[in-house]
Amino acid sequence: MGLKEFLFLLRGLQWTVALAAIGFIGGGIAGLFVALARTSANKLLVAVTRGYISVFQGTPLLMQLFVVYYGLALVGLKLDAWVAVAIGFTLHASAYLGEIWRGGIEAVPRGQTEAALALSLRYWSRTKDVVLPQAFKISLPATIGFLVQLIKGTSLAAIVGFTELARAGSIISNQIFEPLVVFGIVGILYFAICWPLSLFGAHLERQFAQGSR
C-alpha cells in the first residue's frame, strides 16, 4: 500500500470525524431539548419524547439511515447523501443523548430544584444555572461512551454511498487486494480516536466516584 492509498484512507477518516462531530453537535443540541421535554411537567411533551426515544433506541441505526435517505426519496424528497446522513445521525444521537441526559437531570437531588424555587429562580435559570451543570457532570462518562459508539457507527453511512473511513478501506482493499493490511490500518485509525476517548471517559468516571465519597 502506497502513500496515495494511505492519504485516501485519511480523507475517509476526516469524513468519519466530521460525521461524528455533526451527529454529536446536532444530536447534542436536539438531545438537550429532548432531555428537557422528557423531564418537563408537560405530559404531552413527556409522552412524545418518550416515544421518540423508544423508536430510535429500538431500531438499528442502519435502518434509520435507510429511511432518511431512501424513504424520504420515495416521497419525493431527494436528499444529498451528505445531508441525509447528517440528519440521520443527528436524530439518532438526539434520542440517545436525550435519554442519557434525562437520567442525569433526574439524578440531580430534588433539593437543588427546591432551593432554586425557594430563591424564586425561573425555569430557565433553574435549568441553566442549577440543574444542567450538575446533570452534565453526572452524565459525562456515559456521554463520552456514546460518542465512541457514534464514531464507530459512522461506518454505516457507507450504505448510502458515503465514503467515510470504513468505505474508503473497502475501496482501497478492492484496488490493491491487500485486505488484511488495509483493514488493519483502518482498525488502527478507529482505535487511535476511540481509545483515548474511552480512557478519558473511564478516568472521569473514577474521578467522580472518588469525588462523591
Binding site: P109, Q112, E114, A115, A118, S120, S125, V130, P133, Q134
Partner: protein
C-alpha cells in the same frame, strides 16, 4: 420577651385560613388556621410526619394546597404564578440538607438569585453577599465550594444565601437536624441574631432552648393539625393537651 417584643406589629404577614392539603388520597394538613404578624417568631414542632414541613412549604408554594386560602402580605398564594414568584422573592427558606449549589462557590451561591430575579448588578450583588457572609461569620470562605465546608458552615452559607434576597420573612425547616452536635450552636446563634434584628421567622425545630429564647409562640402539630399554640413559657410549663405533654416528655428526655 414574648409580647414585649417591640418589632412585632399587629399587621399579619402570613395568614392561613382553613388550609387543607392532600398528597393523593392522604390528608397531610387539616383545617390550618394561623396568623403570623410582621416581626413575629414562630417555632413549629411535632412528631415526625405531623405535617410541619408541608405547612411551611405551602407558604412559598413548594407544595400546593387544595382548600382554604393562604395569604402572604395580602396576596393569595395559589394559582397565580406572578404572586408565587413575588412571595418567593420576599420569603427565604433554609432546608435541613442545606441544598447549596455544589458546583458554585459560596459567593456564587449567594449572588445567583439577586442577579437573576432582582436584576441586581453583579458588583452590588457581590457587595451584599460579602456583607451577609460576614454577618454569618463566614466571609473568609467565600471562594470555597460547599463540599469544602463543614455542615455548620454550609448551613450558615445557606442562611446568608437566603438573606441576600433581602427577604421579609424566613422559613427554617429543621435547620440543625442534619448537623453534628458541636455545630448546632453556631447555626442557632446565627438564627438568634437574625431574630434579634426583627426578622419574621417560622422555624420547624426541636431545639427547645432556641424556642424558649426567641419564639413568640410555639405551635404543636400532630397528624396534620395544629393542636396547641402558646407562648413558650406556657407551652413548656403547662402544656394543655396530652399529645403535647407526651411529645415534650420524649423530646426533653432525649436531650
Amino acid at each position: 420577651m414574648n409580647n414585649a417584643n417591640p418589632s412585632t406589629s399587629a399587621e399579619p404577614m402570613i395568614v392561613f385560613r382553613h388550609v387543607e392539603k392532600w398528597y393523593g388520597s392522604f390528608k397531610a394538613l387539616t383545617d390550618i388556621n394561623l396568623e403570623v404578624r410582621t416581626g413575629e417568631k414562630i417555632v413549629l414542632c411535632g412528631p415526625s410526619g405531623s405535617g410541619k414541613s408541608t405547612l411551611i412549604r405551602c407558604i412559598n408554594h413548594l407544595e400546593p394546597y387544595q382548600k382554604g386560602e393562604l395569604l402572604v402580605e395580602g396576596l393569595k398564594v395559589g394559582e397565580d404564578p406572578k404572586i408565587i414568584d413575588a412571595v418567593r422573592r420576599e420569603v427565604g427558606m433554609v432546608f435541613q440538607q442545606f441544598n447549596l449549589f455544589p458546583h458554585m462557590t459560596v459567593l456564587e451561591n449567594c449572588i445567583l438569585a439577586p442577579m437573576r430575579t432582582r436584576k441586581t448588578p453583579r458588583e452590588a450583588a457581590v457587595a451584599t453577599a460579602r456583607r451577609l457572609l460576614d454577618r454569618v461569620k463566614i466571609l473568609d470562605q467565600a471562594d470555597k465550594y460547599p463540599a469544602q465546608l463543614s455542615g455548620g458552615q454550609q448551613q450558615r452559607v445557606a442562611i446568608a444565601r437566603a438573606l441576600c434576597m433581602e427577604p421579609k420573612a424566613m422559613l427554617f425547616d429543621e435547620p440543625t437536624s442534619a448537623l453534628d452536635p458541636e455545630m448546632v450552636k453556631e447555626v442557632l446563634d446565627t438564627m438568634i441574631s437574625l431574630a434579634e434584628e426583627g426578622m419574621t421567622m417560622i422555624c420547624v425545630t426541636h431545639e427547645m432552648g432556641f424556642a424558649r429564647q426567641v419564639a413568640d409562640r410555639v405551635i404543636f402539630m400532630a397528624k396534620g393539625e395544629i393542636i396547641e399554640e402558646a407562648p413558650p413559657e406556657q407551652f413548656f410549663r403547662n402544656p394543655q393537651h396530652k399529645r403535647t405533654q407526651q411529645f415534650l416528655g420524649e423530646i426533653l428526655s432525649r436531650h
